[in-house]
């Protein structure tokens, strides 16, 4: 077990963003965290990445309570741009290199070129599509054990989406676990192993897509419509 959440709850003033979530994740699988906007996907991811503190409950990473050292093995990519304004593309690479031992600078440079970015480009001047590519390039240049991608396909054109998906797939393997939150079901149906359906902060169902296809013949969209 790579990750386990026990009765995980996050309450903001007057609102439960995540409510008693119990989840287990295994190594070498790709999970889709599916739900509408505001369903608690981002809050769950931020808690798992160690950015947000749970109100109650527990997160176990490799069977021990999550702590700051685990961030060396957990990569988190937020929906919004978060790099410092003064940075250039190359500075982002340097930042990751400075703080993450699993970061591969050569791979980063290669992916930057492949994504049509340039090292001298200012981060704040990038278009939303270019910015999304940079985030995914930096995140996937790490050999993280657990990779949390929050809406990686949001607000970007079809071609860029295809590039991002192929990049994610090229990095998926037996040694790492990838969690992708999205509401774009069609984009992820072909490659996720398990779907976690979340609504109003509660996990409604966890479905093994291969098994579902074999036993009931239902697609991801069918299950989504049934559950949500």
């Amino acid at each position: 077990m790579i990750l386990e959440c026990k009765d995980l709850t996050k309450t903001f003033v007057g609102k439960r963003a995540v409510s008693n979530v119990n989840l287990s994740m295994e190594k070498g699988r790709i999970y889709g965290l599916l739900g509408e906007n505001g369903s608690g996907k981002t809050t769950w991811m931020k808690m798992t990445a160690g950015l947000t503190k749970p109100s109650s409950g527990e997160i176990l990473y490799k069977d021990h309570p999550l702590c700051y050292r685990d961030k060396a093995e957990i990569a988190y990519m937020s929906t919004e741009p978060f790099y410092y304004d003064y940075m250039k593309v190359e500075d982002v690479g340097q930042y990751y290199q400075d703080f993450f031992e699993d970061f591969d600078r050569e791979k980063f440079n290669g992916l930057v070129e492949k994504a049509g970015l340039e090292n001298r480009m200012k981060v704040r001047n990038l278009s939303s599509g270019m910015g999304a590519k940079l985030k995914i390039v930096a995140t996937m240049s790490r050999k993280a054990v657990l990779c949390l991608l929050d809406e990686p396909l949001n607000g970007i054109d079809y071609k860029a989406r295809e590039e991002i998906i192929s990049l994610i797939l090229s990095e998926a393997g037996e040694d790492n676990t990838i969690v992708i939150s999205t509401h774009l079901l069609e984009e992820v149906e072909s490659f996720i192993d398990e779907a976690i359906f979340i609504k109003s902060g509660e996990v409604l169902k966890v479905a093994d897509l291969e098994r579902e296809r074999i036993t009931s013949g239902r697609s991801l969209t069918d299950i989504y419509m049934d559950v949500m």
């Binding site: 003033v13 950015l51 503190k53 050292r69 961030k71 937020s78 978060f82 003064y86 400075d98």
Partner: protein, 256 residues
């Protein structure tokens, strides 16, 4: 921690550039005033440099608090909180970067002061008189009399600088705690910044109240310059406690 300090240092580089440019302009104006014997230009530029040195030393401290507030308010907070570093290292780096920034400003203005003095000496030609005048000014500032002992003046200057540093540290620490408290209690609120300012003054008042009580202990002498030893001791303990509270609070409750 060195890498954290490196990135904290970079966050204030715009203000450093503005200071450098401003100071260079003032310095050039002062030299221009000396060369062309324009007393008004020389006096104004020197006055600006003197006022600027005090104001900017204070501002650099306040700016490091503002940077923390911005870090916590925006998504850029992820940059700090996603790295595998403890809260103690993160806040320690922020504090050390703030000290470096203060030392930079101090060195900048000290350098400008030296250049101004050398320029003035060169222009007037009366090295001995000006050197003597400078000594008398220092003596007056430090002891309030003209009857002086050079060793005592030097020690008093060091004590004054240390007192200033401790007071400045206390301001930074209180600022950090106020921001963290505010961003913990009022998460996602647009009033969090305002609340942090209120908290800053409240905690500062508590610190000053404690300091006043320390000076009321019978047998403690009031220092003629800077703080007395017990006040320094009190403020150092206060800073350590405030720093520890900030880190524990951020570690357990702060969400970005």
């Amino acid at each position: 921690m060195g890498k954290l300090i490196k990135y904290e240092w970079k966050k204030q580089r715009t203000s450093r550039m503005v200071m450098l440019v401003g100071l260079a302009v003032c310095l050039l104006a002062f030299i221009w005033g000396l060369i062309f014997e324009s007393d008004s230009v020389a006096t104004c530029s020197l006055g600006l440099m003197l006022c600027g040195s005090f104001l900017l030393l204070l501002y650099t401290g306040v700016e490091s608090i503002l940077v923390l507030n911005r870090d916590l308010k925006t998504k850029q907070s992820y940059m700090l909180w996603m790295v595998p570093k403890s809260i103690w290292e993160i806040f320690g780096a922020k504090f050390l970067a703030a000290i470096l920034q203060m030392l930079f400003v101090f060195a900048l203005f000290f350098g400008a002061g030296c250049i101004s003095l050398i320029s003035a000496l060169y222009a007037s030609g009366g090295i001995r008189q000006i050197a003597e005048a400078c000594t008398r000014i220092f003596e007056f500032l430090v002891t309030g009399t003209t009857d002086y002992n050079k060793g005592a003046i030097f020690l008093n200057l060091i004590w004054f600088a240390f007192s200033f540093f401790v007071a400045w540290t206390e301001v930074i620490m209180i600022g950090f705690l106020a921001v963290v408290l505010s961003r913990t209690l009022l998460i996602r609120s647009r009033f969090a910044g305002f609340f942090a300012v209120i908290l800053f003054f409240v905690i500062n008042w508590i610190a000053e109240r404690g300091s006043y009580l320390v000076t009321q202990i019978p047998g403690l002498e009031v220092s003629p310059i800077g703080m007395n030893v017990w006040e320094i001791f009190y403020y150092l303990i206060f800073c350590v406690v405030v720093f520890a509270v900030t880190c524990v609070l951020a570690d357990r409750k702060l969400s970005v």
